[in-house]
């Protein structure tokens, strides 16, 4: 009987933190999402009324919310494969040698991940600037007319996503490089003896053995894209015309600019449900895999 309680004792600290900073806020948001709470609540609590599911009804009728959902979906569909493939490819190439040049390249690729987002946005907004940006200057040298990187509603989505991909690969490259250390040399040597080429070894041995790392990176990257916020916030503030407004930006604007706390909470609950559902599906798919 005593022994049965011991595990609970060990998980208590972690559980307390999770409940305080994970579950409780979600519960509070769920409660607020059924009220019309806005900034006037601070003047008097009598300004807060219970409105049931009105916020959700309004949310699903809100064209801006659907636009934000659509943008987030597009970001995830384009961004997740881009980051996974790019970082896996780069990691495989970087793993080919341990000499000083390759080691310094690792640091180089990791730099974007540890650079402050404000500095990144400043540099990229200068690169992207239509009038005096470097990219358009280079284009002008070969006679291409100015491109509206952040002003064209369609192109802006990809310009913003590109910065996020550039910024997101660094950490994942390190994760893949670490996982590559775990690929047994014997397998590769055996395959070489059997006459397998570089490409064959990579596709048939290395990548399958990286399966768990790929799964991990896919899940974390998907969640990151579903909560996409920093890059559009600093580069376009969700513009032009809401073209780069992700769900997180939409919620932030509703909650902290328009002070519609009830409405924003309803949106954050919807986003939470979406992320939880997608992650569960990914976990299920993973369970179907056979271990090597």
């Amino acid at each position: 009987m005593r022994n049965r309680l011991v595990p609970y004792f060990f998980v208590t600290p972690a559980m307390l933190l999770l409940i305080t900073f994970g579950i409780l806020p979600i519960a509070v948001a769920a409660v607020i999402s059924t009220t019309n709470m806005n900034i006037s609540a601070f003047a008097s609590w009598s300004n807060v009324d219970f409105v049931g599911l009105d916020n959700y009804v309004q949310l699903f009728a809100d064209a801006d919310f659907w636009q934000a959902l659509g943008n987030t979906g597009l970001f995830a569909v384009v961004g997740v494969p881009a980051i996974v493939i790019l970082s896996l490819g780069t990691a495989l190439l970087l793993n080919r040698s341990q000499n000083w040049f390759f080691r310094s390249l690792r640091a180089f690729y990791f730099l974007p991940a540890i650079t402050a987002i404000v500095a990144i946005s400043l540099v990229w907004s200068y690169l992207y600037n239509t009038q005096f940006g470097l990219l358009n200057y280079l284009f002008s040298l070969v006679g291409v007319p100015p491109v509206q990187w952040l002003s064209d509603p369609w192109l802006a989505k990809f310009s913003v996503a590109l910065v996020a991909v550039w910024r997101g690969t660094g950490l994942n490259i390190i994760i893949f490089l670490a996982a590559l250390q775990g690929v047994p040399k014997e397998y590769l040597e055996a395959a070489s003896l059997d006459g397998a080429g570089e490409w064959r070894k990579t596709v048939s041995i290395t990548v399958p053995l990286l399966r768990f790392a790929i799964f991990f990176v896919s899940v974390t990257t998907t969640i990151a894209w579903l909560q996409f916020f920093d890059e559009p916030f600093v580069l376009t503030d969700g513009g032009p015309l809401g073209a780069t407004t992700s769900v997180s930006i939409f919620l932030y604007k509703e909650g902290f600019r328009l002070n519609q706390f009830g409405y924003a909470s309803a949106g954050s609950i919807v986003l939470f449900v979406i992320i939880a559902a997608i992650t569960l599906v990914q976990l299920r798919l993973r369970r179907a895999d056979d271990e090597y």
Binding site: A29, P240, L251, S268
Partner: protein, 409 residues
């Protein structure tokens, strides 16, 4: 990027902290120590200079214009606000609705210099009161006028800055025809008051007789004609990252409507252009040349424990000489009538244009969340028409529906 958790947490924190707020909102005694003053934009150091001789200690916090909403939300929720804060007129109703501002009606009785009649009627007293209470004192004034590069206009056979919107549209077309990458006029895609200035100039209003927001008027349609027409003519740049000061200095966009801050920017960045540009009244429509009375007011935080000292500081900086000193430091125009009519101030021909424009200028309606709902909705509707070719009637109808039911406080 754990944003949902963060958002949820912030909302929870906000909710939790407000529970404790009402308990500590009654200041018993006047405390001592420096006054905390929130100054908008990058004028913090200048504000310290301005009040250096007042004998009042201040602790100035500079708040970026785009961070004010977030800052306000957290300050109201936590009860930890400043003593005095600068408020853009378009935010006044939101601030007051949150209960962030101390009603000043009784307090200004002891400070005759803060009486509403010392300030232009449009921004003082009851015209900026919320729910019938005066919650702010005018501080700086700001308006929108037309700036033109007279040298470029003259080269293209235009003798004088356009006096009407029709002339402006025709001149802009001529100037845009100078070549590839050249424009006649510049419409900032973030400038929400511009279409409203156009509506006023066409003789319209954006508030109906009952105080409700109402854009569904023939005058607003004329303003939309003008706004979309300038784009249809190819007279304005379509990129959202166009820099108006650079565009004006380089001559790419030799005409634009902006505030006195543009004049300061141009004068300091390109002194060699002195005499080649000027300010002139906002172009007129059927309703005359009616511009925006922008500017900022100052308010006292609802639970400040140094109310008397705060009022003393407001009194000090409302003296005409301090108001003129502020103009010298920052280029922001005074609001005190005595300072606005000062002869030395009006010696500058550009300032004469500003002060004359201010005489007929109007403030944006004091509607809660004006910027967030009306301003953003208006820009989204108009820009979707001109930038993405959205259907005009659909876009405008959606905007009318969005703003239906909003009314003046």
């Amino acid at each position: 990027m754990k944003r949902t958790a963060k958002t949820a947490l912030a909302v929870a924190a906000v909710a939790g902290l407000t529970l404790g707020m009402s308990a500590c909102s009654a200041p018993a005694e006047e405390a001592s120590g420096p006054l905390t003053v929130w100054v908008m934009g990058d004028s913090g150091a200048n504000f310290e200079k301005l009040v250096a001789d007042s004998g009042i200690e201040v602790d100035v916090v500079a708040i970026p214009w785009d961070a004010i909403d977030e800052k306000l939300t957290t300050a109201v929720a936590s009860g930890n606000g400043p003593d005095i804060l600068q408020i853009g007129l378009s935010k006044l109703a939101t601030f007051a609705e949150a209960g962030a501002l101390l009603p000043l009606d009784d307090l200004i009785a002891d400070h005759p210099d803060l009486a509403p009649e010392n300030f232009p009627a449009g921004v003082s007293g009851l015209s900026t009161a919320v729910d019938g209470k005066i919650v702010s004192i005018p501080w700086t004034s700001d308006t929108r006028v037309l700036f033109t590069r007279t040298d470029i206009l003259a080269e293209n056979g235009i003798d004088a800055p356009p006096a009407t919107w029709d002339e402006l549209r025709a001149d802009a077309k001529i100037l845009a025809a100078r070549g590839e990458g050249q424009y006649g006029y510049y419409i900032p895609q973030w400038d929400a008051p511009l279409p409203i200035e156009m509506t006023w100039s066409m003789g319209g209003e954006v508030i109906d007789a009952d105080g409700n927001v109402d854009f569904d008027t023939p005058e607003f349609q004329k303003a939309v004609d003008l706004y979309t027409g300038l784009y249809a003519d190819g007279s304005v740049p379509t990129n959202s990252d166009f820099d108006q000061t650079q565009g004006f200095i380089s001559g790419i966009a030799p005409m634009l409507v902006s505030g006195p801050y543009l004049a300061n920017g141009v004068a300091s960045a390109a002194p060699e252009l002195d005499g080649k540009w000027q300010a002139s009244p906002l172009p007129a429509g059927d309703g005359g040349s009616i511009s925006l009375f922008a500017g900022s007011n100052l308010g006292v935080w609802y639970n400040s424990d140094q109310v008397d000292q705060s009022l003393a500081l407001l009194d000090y900086i409302s003296q005409p000489e301090q108001q003129l000193a502020w103009y010298q430091l920052t280029g922001e125009l005074p609001t005190v009538n005595a300072a606005l009519s000062d002869a030395t101030l009006n010696a500058d021909p550009n300032v004469q244009v500003y002060t004359a424009q201010l005489a007929t200028a109007k403030v944006l309606p004091i509607v809660a969340n004006w910027d967030g709902v009306v301003g953003t909705g208006l820009l989204n509707a108009l820009n979707s028409i001109v930038l993405t070719g959205a259907d005009r009637t659909t876009a405008l109808d959606a905007f009318f529906a969005e703003t239906k039911g909003l009314s003046v406080k």
